[in-house]
């Protein structure tokens, strides 16, 4: 009986753990503002073009970037972006590639030009307003021409982007928004995990007392 109980508990724990990790496995890059309620950005990974590696002639690759407002207090943030262009030595390679940046919500195009240029992102460009817990998605597409010359094998190009945020207090008239992600599920899973551990400890203590 004890063995069965132990097995069930073990299985439940494993299930909780696997569900937690699988839910968290996103393949997108994230720009978070306000992690730990700090007024700063966190880029994850440090390079937002995670999918644009080892690109080959003829490739058309997409990359999703999610911008999140993680400030705990009720603030809305206005997010802006601008491109500082290609780093020195990158220009020739990046000029061969075409980069498009569009808003996921309305598919409005924010940037559509050779990747070495700053084009529509030369000046600070407004991305949108995000409320606490909210997010905005950007969809990027990189086109690599099939005619890309052999000389560009193993080429490396880097582009600097800047993000700016302006914080505002939320007005009572503002619409109620928020992150509709799985935070509730995570909280529930945490609670469940704690409950299972508590049960385990109680059972163990009870058994120890019985044995005495």
């Amino acid at each position: 009986m004890r063995k069965t109980f132990r097995c069930i508990l073990g299985f439940a724990l494993a299930l909780i753990l696997s569900v937690s990790t699988s839910v968290a496995a996103f393949a997108e890059s994230t720009v978070s503002y306000g992690d730990d309620n700090a007024q700063k950005f966190v880029f994850a990974p440090n390079d937002l073009f995670e999918n644009f590696k080892n690109v080959m002639p003829g490739d058309s690759i997409t990359q999703k970037i999610t911008i999140r407002n993680r400030r705990l207090n009720d603030v809305k943030i206005k997010i802006y972006i601008r491109s500082l262009g290609a780093n020195e030595g990158s220009e020739e390679f990046l000029s061969q590639l075409k980069l498009k940046v569009e808003q996921a919500d309305d598919e409005s195009i924010m940037f559509d030009a050779p990747a070495d240029q700053t084009a529509q992102l030369t000046e600070w460009t407004y991305i949108g307003t995000v409320y606490s817990g909210g997010k905005i998605d950007l969809n990027l597409t990189l086109e690599v021409p099939i005619e890309l010359d052999n000389d560009f094998q193993d080429a490396i190009g880097s582009i600097n982007w800047q993000f700016r945020v302006e914080e505002f207090p939320v007005d009572p008239e503002d619409p109620v928004t928020g992150d509709e992600s799985t935070i509730f599920l995570f909280a529930l899973l945490c609670l469940l995990s704690v409950a299972v551990f508590v049960v385990l400890i109680v059972v163990r203590k009870k058994r120890a007392a019985e044995e005495k």
């Binding site: 720009v31 503002y33 007024q39 700063k40 950005f41 880029f43 440090n46 390079d47 937002l48 073009f49 644009f52 590696k53 080892n54 690109v55 080959m56 002639p57 003829g58 490739d59 500082l84 780093n87 390679f93 990046l94 590639l97 990747a115 990189l142 690599v144 099939i146 890309l148 052999n150 560009f152 094998q153 193993d154 080429a155 490396i156 190009g157 880097s158 582009i159 600097n160 982007w161 800047q162 993000f163 700016r164 945020v165 302006e166 914080e167 505002f168």
Partner: protein
Amino acid sequence: MKRRIPAIALVLALLVIATSAYVTLAYFTADDQVTNVITAGNVKIQLCEMMATDNGDTLVPFENVSGVMPGTEVSKIVTVKNTGNNAAYVRVSVESLIKDASGIEDELLTGELDSYIEIDIDSTNWTYMDDGYYYYNTALEAGAETEPLFTIVKYSEKMPNEYQNTTLEMNITAYATQKANNGANVFEASGWPA
């Protein structure tokens, strides 16, 4: 006194407006910069020529063999290794010619060479096409190596005396082109290096 009241009211009103405007416009700002990197892939191959040792147990890098007599075999194992990061299609050209003792090509003997030299081409994994290349039938994944194109070069017993003191020179060249975005198979692929 009567004139002062509207002035004070005006100043107060302005103060209220200014304060409310300040409250509305007050905000924190933060900037940060991120460097985004794009890297290009590559297609790299290595032609491998090995030979079996006399007892046949070990493979060693191919070295020129001299004094080969008619009716004998020379071990020459030709493969191609994908040393790049991406899957590639592979083709190989094999050019054989006969040179006399002074190192000059004997075109007549070269022309008759096919009758006296036999190469055990692997026609299961390689396909000879009219353009003169042997194509490896499947794409070669990064890090993989082809099956040998051939392993033995056999001198025919019927090889005439004219071939005495000559040198058989085999020029083998391997080519690769990317698999990605490049046709359904090796025969449809384009972009082969010149």
